[in-house]
């Protein structure tokens, strides 16, 4: 399915062939020309070889999702050809630089049935003739592509200059390769007529990944210590925060394992700074004991849980969202916690700050979910929202004198007790992982054990009152209400926009959840009463959020649209679902 007002380019090759940098260059240069883009990365869990791709969907209208097929595929390796040939849409073109490429019968059949042109560009030889380095084949092909798209080379060259600002010696040569690609001719390569309207006013927009936005949310929130153990897709939060640490002054440390990561986070937070950690599902499994400790000692704890498919090592570099129930039920014992879910850079940036305010004010663990699809995709956005005011919930310095010994864990109406910090001239206390009294002194008596358990759990009731409802995109009364969390928002809202533009007859809306736990089912139930059909869209295999909603409210949706193959929802899949529903209606 080709989507109107969208063109899709995919660059593919082996890991180590610079696929990601070409993709980034394309994203940035597309923006510079005054168009909108969304960049989607696929890569294997290895460093050299295998197959990797970077797909850029671009349009004259804003977009935040990928199509399942591309219009133009650049191929730099045999393995990428065999993996991605079928991702080319009808009437599309494949440009490859693979010498002696043999096409299988199946491939030839696909190409002829779909009217796909496969064009060999002797890029290695031409790059050599032009005096370039073998790795510059990708820049050469970029020149070929850009000429076909009829886009401005000035913008592309500007982006290349910025990319190689620290290696000025290679700039001239790369420009030379672009120009060599520009003049390449082949009878099968015809210029593309995009027919897009350009918006010069958007050239100042940002290209940002979800992980960069979360990292900047931490910076803005005053996080002063970030601890992590490398694990895809969370690792780029660590590497980005480390890269800017000389400017931010943030203490950014790679720690020996996730148990220590969580423990250091609890320690630094307990001492009184804002600390954060990040991991993926397997690492979070190791942290769960410490999440329970944070809840018991009422120490603020914020962890970014960047999801990828499991179980076990799973599909390490691919996407899904199957750790919601892990987050909601993590750790032994019963205790209050908040689970948030980002869906794009803006929400990642905001929710990171919200997470710290909630963790501080309620003295609880807060888990911020994200997904590989959000973490590592390249979003084009106007700006990040304004920073959120910091709320720490600490006893003011001039109030320390009035503190009583039992205040630290005293039972209160909303379950939140006064918190002050070690080092302060005030009554000391014991942050005790054993059940305890107001000052942290150990108790095994039934009455105080019940009282403090209930005190902690009352935080959850208060949170249910203060946490915002899910946000509705579209009309209150709809034929289909889609309900989702995380990255499906991107594909669903893009699909609804497209459907409306194309004059579809169904009334559609999308209810988006960012505050996952404690669950807020009320708004959903109100909408469900008026909707013909409610569909949960989840990037997991069993509909975890639907389960959670049902558990807390008894509500069961009419349908589940699930995807659990390591890939995100593509906008085309949602459009197809809507069209299918339309057919049933008619």
């Amino acid at each position: 399915m080709h989507i109107q007002n969208r063109f899709v380019v995919k660059v593919s090759g082996a890991s180590g062939q610079g696929i990601n940098s070409v993709g980034e260059t394309i994203s940035k240069a597309i923006k510079e020309t005054g168009l909108y883009s969304f960049g989607y990365r696929e890569y294997p869990s290895l460093i050299k070889g295998g197959f990797a791709s970077f797909q850029v969907d671009f349009s004259s209208a804003p977009l935040a999702s990928s199509s399942d097929k591309c219009d133009m595929l650049l191929v730099l390796s045999v393995s990428a050809f065999s993996v991605y040939y079928s991702s080319v849409a009808k009437d599309g073109t494949i440009i490859h630089s693979v010498i002696g490429l043999q096409q299988s019968e199946e491939q030839q059949k696909y190409f002829s049935e779909n009217n796909i042109k496969v064009v060999f560009v002797p890029a290695q030889q031409l790059v050599k003739e032009a005096g370039g380095h073998p790795l510059m084949v990708n820049t050469f092909l970029l020149g070929v592509l850009w000429q076909l798209l009829g886009l401005s080379f000035d913008h592309l060259i500007e982006v290349l200059k910025r990319t190689f600002a620290k290696k000025p010696e290679v700039i001239e040569l790369n420009i030379k390769m672009l120009e060599a690609g520009k003049i390449f001719q082949n009878e099968n390569l015809q210029p593309v007529t995009l027919g897009f309207e350009f918006h010069p006013e958007i050239v100042d927009e940002m290209i940002i990944s979800g992980n960069q936005a979360i990292a900047l949310g931490a910076v803005a929130a005053g996080v002063r210590a970030y601890y992590a153990y490398p694990m895809t897709p969370s690792s780029s939060i660590l590497s980005y925060l480390a890269a800017i640490s000389h400017e931010t002054g943030m203490f950014v440390k790679q720690i020996e394992d996730e148990i220590s990561v969580a423990s250091l986070t609890v320690g630094s937070s307990f001492a009184g700074t804002r600390a954060m950690c990040g991991t993926s599902g397997g690492g979070f499994d190791l942290m769960t004991e410490t999440v329970s400790l944070a809840a018991m000692t009422e120490t603020p704890f914020v962890c970014v849980l960047a999801q990828r498919p499991g179980p076990a090592t799973g599909l390490p570099t691919w996407t899904n969202a199957a750790d919601l129930l892990l987050a909601a039920f993590a750790g032994h014992g019963e205790y209050p916690r908040v689970v948030l879910a980002a869906s794009d850079p803006q929400s990642g940036y905001v929710l990171t700050q919200v997470a710290h305010n909630l963790a501080d004010v309620y003295q609880i663990p807060v888990i911020l979910l994200t997904e590989k699809q959000i973490a590592e995709s390249h979003f084009q956005i106007k700006d990040l929202p304004p920073a959120i005011e910091i709320k720490r919930g600490l006893v003011a310095e001039d109030q320390l004198e009035s503190l009583q010994k039992m205040d630290r864990y005293r039972s209160t109406e909303n379950g939140v007790s006064l918190r002050w910090l070690p080092g302060q001239c005030a009554p000391t206390f014991d942050a005790n992982s054993d059940e305890h009294l107001g000052d942290g002194s150990l108790t095994e008596d039934s009455v105080p054990a019940k009282e403090i358990f209930e005190k902690r759990m009352r935080k959850l009731e208060d949170l249910k009152k203060v946490l915002p409802d899910p946000v509705l995109h579209g009309e209150e009364t709809a034929d289909i209400v889609f309900v989702g969390w995380g990255s499906p928002k991107l594909a669903v809202t893009d699909a609804i926009d497209l459907y409306v533009q194309q004059g579809g007859s169904l009334k559609l809306s999308y209810l988006h959840y960012e505050y996952m736990y404690p669950v807020k089912p009320e708004k959903l139930q109100q909408l469900a009463e008026k909707a013909k059909k409610v569909v949960f869209v989840e990037n997991n295999g069993t509909g975890q959020f639907a389960k959670l909603i049902r558990m807390e409210s008894g509500y069961t949706p009419d349908d589940l649209l699930l995807k659990n193959d390591g890939r995100p929802f593509f906008v085309t899949e949602i459009v197809a679902y809507i069209q299918q529903s339309e057919g049933k209606e008619a």
């Binding site: 940002m206 290209i207 940002i208 960069q212 900047l216 910076v219 803005a220 929130a221 005053g222 002063r224 210590a225 601890y227 800017i244 000389h246 400017e247 002054g249 943030m250 203490f251 440390k253 720690i255 020996e256 394992d257 148990i259 220590s260 990561v261 423990s263 320690g267 630094s268 937070s269 307990f270 001492a271 009184g272 700074t273 804002r274 600390a275 004991e289 410490t290 400790l293 000692t297 700006d383 990040l384 910091i390 310095e397 910090l421 070690p422 080092g423 302060q424 001239c425 005030a426 000391t428 206390f429 014991d430 942050a431 005790n432 992982s433 054993d434 000052d439 942290g440 002194s441 150990l442």
Partner: protein, 296 residues
Amino acid sequence: MSCNSCSTKTVGLAEYASPNALTWCPGCGNFGIQVALKQALVAQGVTPHQAMLCFDVGCNGNGSDKIDGYRFHGLHGRILPVAAGIACANKKLTVVAEAGDGATFGEGVNHFVHAVRGNFDITFLCHNNENYGLTKGQASATTREDVAMNSNPDGVTSTPIHPQRLALSLGATFSARIFSGDIAGMNRVFQAAIAHKGFAFVEILQNCPTYNKHTPHEWYQQRVYNINETDHDTSNRAAAVAAAEDINEKVATGILYQDPNSVPFMMRDAVRKDLGAELIDEVKTYDITPYTSRMR
């Protein structure tokens, strides 16, 4: 944010007293260790507001609410990274972590390895009574070979960990061993450990009257000697390893090794070492435009 007024205040032992009754077995080494810790803190001029006492789970951890000071009583085996996190966030605190041999060399051995490597500015009192006391006398990683324990009725078959050999091989900047019956010795060693810049490992040979029948109080008393009263050079790591080796006949106690040039973790950090402020004092809204402008 830290308490400044305390630094000029004089501190006495009474300030570390707790109204809660101690629950250790009669004759437990923990009584003496707690007394010596209080003495050392007082002697070093550390008030309970400045003291950050971190406890692992075990018999000693049960004492977390039986001494004053700010305290954190964590999970089994995990206290070292918690203490490290506290020490990094507020260098003004005097951070003392305590854990048993079960936690330190069993479930938490990786934390011990990396805490030594990191040289976090912590005093670590490792209560080595060669068994898991609080769970009723199972073997630990320091229980001697062939000794029969709860759940190991035929005797331990694995080679025991030698805590000093391990710590010194990892590059510990301070490694000491002392006996729980030697309160004056503990006071002296604890004070040196608290004053040490970096990770100060103190192994306490602790008697366990209930479960360790193999090396009781008297056994140690007959074997320990103060190595700091000999010509032992505490700045010589190889000499320390050699001196620490014997744990059967003549058992060296005191400061075995101390690196006089030790640089603690935060002072090795390229970003933080020259910044005077503490992480706890820096929480505020930071402008992100320097970073977003590069994404445009």
